[in-house]
């Protein structure tokens, strides 16, 4: 993967897309977790959400670099 992508002739870091993708991914997971009440089993849902997002983002970021 290139480090920067030309979006309408503006160079945009690929990491931005990874960020957006990770955000969307964690939103979907979040929806599922709320729907099936998985957050009830967690001690600190907010922290879990953040950690999940960072994991997703890091995985995608590692794919780029």
């Amino acid at each position: 993967m290139p480090v920067e992508i030309a979006l309408l002739d503006a160079l945009v870091p690929s990491l931005l897309f990874a960020f957006i993708a990770a955000g969307v991914g964690s939103l979907i997971l979040d929806w599922i977790f709320v729907r099936y009440e998985i957050y009830g089993y967690l001690w600190y849902p907010a922290l879990f959400r953040l950690a999940l997002f960072i994991c997703l983002f890091a995985v995608l970021g590692l794919c780029i670099y």
Partner: protein, 724 residues
């Protein structure tokens, strides 16, 4: 231990209890405020650090974003962040467009900008909550991004991207901090609000049951409910990103809000009827009704008090269900006890009361059951129909008010930019920016003039703080930590202002002006001349938007109140005349929203506002009867009777269209006539018994409401007569 006298141990225990109580009080009252201030500070510093680290142009934008979106509840921070992002993005895109089209022609550019800002302000008046905020943002972002870009068109893209990056950093910091550190969940607040409302409402039912005529206390309570309905709606709208139960119960809460509106309207109608009955000479009817009503109010008690939790509401809903089953039997006995010598009209009064009581009971039962179902475990009882049946609170607005608000935003832009162009003033852009922000941001508050006054105070304090910070503290700061120490005190002061409802706007003003002037970008760059120029620009801008709010006053002027009363009456007219029957929920939300938007409920002490409230109650009372009547009318097949009823409705519509004594008498006569005809028809054509009964009862209710000399209808028409 044995050597210590007993009383000392007792005293120690006593002290400990006191200490514990004080500790608990501190935990519930002061600790959240301190935690909140700490969170604002932390998020601000985090945003500042990140922006400096990424070498963005203006760390202050990120800090300002934090200051703006920070709220007590995590869910509201999410919602506001989301809309802030949307609004800013749209604003930036439009700035690109405008710069691309008109960068060479500043007048054309400003004209288009004015149009856009006017449109956005109008949009913000139409929508509620944070959606309205997104519109405001889409408008004023044009000033922040578009104006500097128009001056240096080659940097447009950079300015836009920097702005959005800074805002994103601010949003991320704010949401992270508020979600991770001492999060305040929406669910607890919402549940508390729902519980309190139910308790208040049952209390109200109790008091009216024991003291029927001392109902002057009821109006303020009903008004508070009005506020509650909309604040719950705000809460409900902000739960989309929360991860607790509130998100699961969204539909239910919104449905409950609607049910509550219906219950409170029915209650008001019944209460009015009781009051009228009480004034009449024959106490028998009112006593009989009172007895049934007391049985109802006993049914909603749990162990002699109002239900406080969902579990208790479950008990109440069972009791109500039992009460409903016995209801007709109870009425029967009461009916039998009425002595034979009372007149037909009094008997009809009794029947009307029964009908209203029946409605009240049914609606109360539905409301209680929904409330109680919050307690039941989730998962099991989400019925598939539930999601579909929950009605949304619809939008209602006055087109003229919306247009005027748009014009106001555009006018402040026009005045300030004329000032800028004519005097060639360096700080003109600054003035335009703050002027547009302040003249559009507060358009939706209940009383903009007072709000802008507070904002002005905040702006002055913020300027002083910024001066002190820029030229005394920042000059001595070296390195990030020193910078943080220099910046922090003022942030704490501003955050403390925002925690108190009375000074929240002052706090917003302090934040905005202080962070706009804070004297560093990537490095220290502040000089007193620019600072003072900008400070003058800010204060002037706020002053001008204050004048604009005063000139185009949409909420507290006499004219606007009359318009609201008129729009309220128009709802009744629509209920009578529209070929498609007005839906009940539309009437309920429409009427309440009109009043809520105007902010009359917040200023109940004012005499003219009280008239607005009375029109609201009268609209609800008559409107709900009219809607019920039209429902019953659909079953009537006989053309003559239908025509009589339509005439009756038309006369009510006429009265509400243009209240006057003549129309009132005319309406009463027409309804009298219709009732007589129906009675007659009953003998001649054999109308269905139940249907005829319901129609007569509703007609009688409308008639007695129109006859009421204490109602706003009578008062309003008399005032008019005196004027002529």
């Amino acid at each position: 231990m044995r050597f210590i006298p007993n009383f000392i141990i007792n005293r120690k225990a006593h002290d400990l209890v006191l200490l514990q109580a004080a500790w608990r009080e501190w935990l519930t009252e002061d600790a959240p405020i301190i935690a909140y201030i700490f969170k604002v500070l932390l998020a601000c510093l985090l945003a500042m650090w990140l922006s400096l680290r990424f070498e963005l142009d203006q760390p202050r934008t990120a800090m300002m974003t934090v200051a703006i979106v920070m709220q007590f509840r995590s869910g509201m921070v999410f919602a506001k962040s989301y809309y802030r992002f949307l609004g800013t993005s749209v604003g930036i895109l439009v700035s690109f467009l405008l710069v691309a089209l008109f960068a060479q022609e500043r007048v054309l550019f400003l004209v288009c900008m004015g149009l856009w800002i006017g449109l956005c302000t109008a949009g913000s008046m139409i929508f509620r909550n944070f959606q309205s905020y997104a519109f405001v943002l889409a408008g004023y972002t044009l000033c922040i991004v578009g104006l500097p870009s128009a001056i240096t068109p080659e940097l447009t893209f950079n300015i836009g991207v920097t702005r959005i990056s800074e805002i994103l950093i601010g949003l991320i910091c704010a949401t992270l901090v508020s979600d991770l550190i001492f999060p305040q969940r929406m669910w607890n607040v919402m549940l508390a609000a729902v519980r309190r409302r139910f308790k208040d409402f049952s209390d109200l039912l109790q008091t009216t049951a024991t003291k029927p005529v001392a109902s002057t206390t009821a109006t303020p309570t009903l008004l508070r409910f009005l506020g509650d309905i909309f604040s719950l709606e705000t809460f409900q709208a902000s739960t989309g990103m929360e991860n607790d139960k509130s998100r699961l119960h969204r539909q239910k809460l919104s449905r409950m809000n609607n049910e509550f509106m219906e219950v409170s309207t029915s209650f008001h109608a019944f209460e009015q009827l009781l009051r009228r009955q009480h004034n009449s000479t024959q106490p028998q009817v009112s006593e009989a009704l009172q007895r049934v009503y007391q049985a109802l109010s006993a049914a909603i008690m749990v162990e002699g008090r109002s239900a406080q939790t969902e579990q208790e509401a479950l008990i109440v809903s069972r009791k109500l269900s039992a009460f409903r089953n016995q209801f007709s039997a109870k009425l029967h006995t009461e009916r039998a006890q009425l002595s034979a010598d009372i007149s037909a009209s009094e008997r009809l009064d009794f029947e009307t009361g029964c009908e209203l009581l029946q409605r009240l009971t049914d609606e109360l039962y539905v409301y209680t059951s929904t409330y109680a179902s919050l307690a039941a475990s989730q998962g099991s009882n989400i019925s598939p129909t539930e999601a579909a049946s929950a009605p949304k609170l619809e939008m209602h607005f006055d087109p003229l008010a919306v247009t005027l608000a748009g014009i106001r935003g555009t006018l402040s832009l026009a005045i300030l930019s004329a000032l800028w162009i004519l005097t060639d003033w360096r700080s003109g852009v600054e003035a335009i920016t703050l002027g547009v922000i302040s003249s559009t941001l507060f358009a939706t508050t209940p009383s903009p003039t007072r709000t802008i006054k507070n904002f002005m105070i905040g702006a002055i304090i913020g300027t002083l703080l910024a001066y002190f910070c820029n030229f005394h503290l920042l000059t001595q700061a070296h390195g990030f930590w020193m910078l943080a120490v220099a910046v922090a005190p003022c942030i704490i002061i501003a955050a403390w202002f925002t925690t108190r409802p009375a000074t929240a706007i002052v706090g917003a003003g302090v934040f905005m002006v202080y962070l706009m002037h804070i004297g560093f970008n990537s490095a220290y760059n502040s000089n007193p001349v620019t600072f003072i120029n900008d400070a003058i620009a800010d204060l002037l801008a706020v002053l001008i938007s204050g004048i604009m709010y005063g000139l185009i006053d949409l909420s507290s002027s006499r004219w606007s109140r009359q318009r609201i009363a008129k729009s309220l009456r128009n709802l009744v007219v629509a209920a009578c005349r529209d070929p498609v029957a007005l839906r009940r929920s539309r009437l309920e939300t429409g009427a309440r929203e009109l009043v809520q938007r105007a902010g009359s409920a917040q200023r109940i002490g004012d005499k003219e506002d009280r008239i607005v409230m009375e029109w609201l109650l009268s609209t609800l009372e008559i409107g709900h009867a009219v809607i019920a009547l039209r429902e019953y009318m659909q079953v009537v097949e006989h053309p003559y009777i239908s025509k009589m009823l339509s005439l009756g409705l038309e006369s009510v519509a006429q009265l509400y269209d243009e209240p006057s004594e003549a129309y009132r008498i005319h309406a009463i006569n027409t309804i009298d006539h219709a009732m007589a005809e129906i009675n007659q028809a009953n003998i001649e054509f054999n109308l269905p018994q139940a249907n005829q009964h319901q129609i007569t009862v509703m007609l009688h209710f409308i008639r007695s409401a129109l006859l009421d000399e204490e109602s706003v209808l009578a008062a309003g028409t008399q005032n008019k007569l005196e004027k002529h």
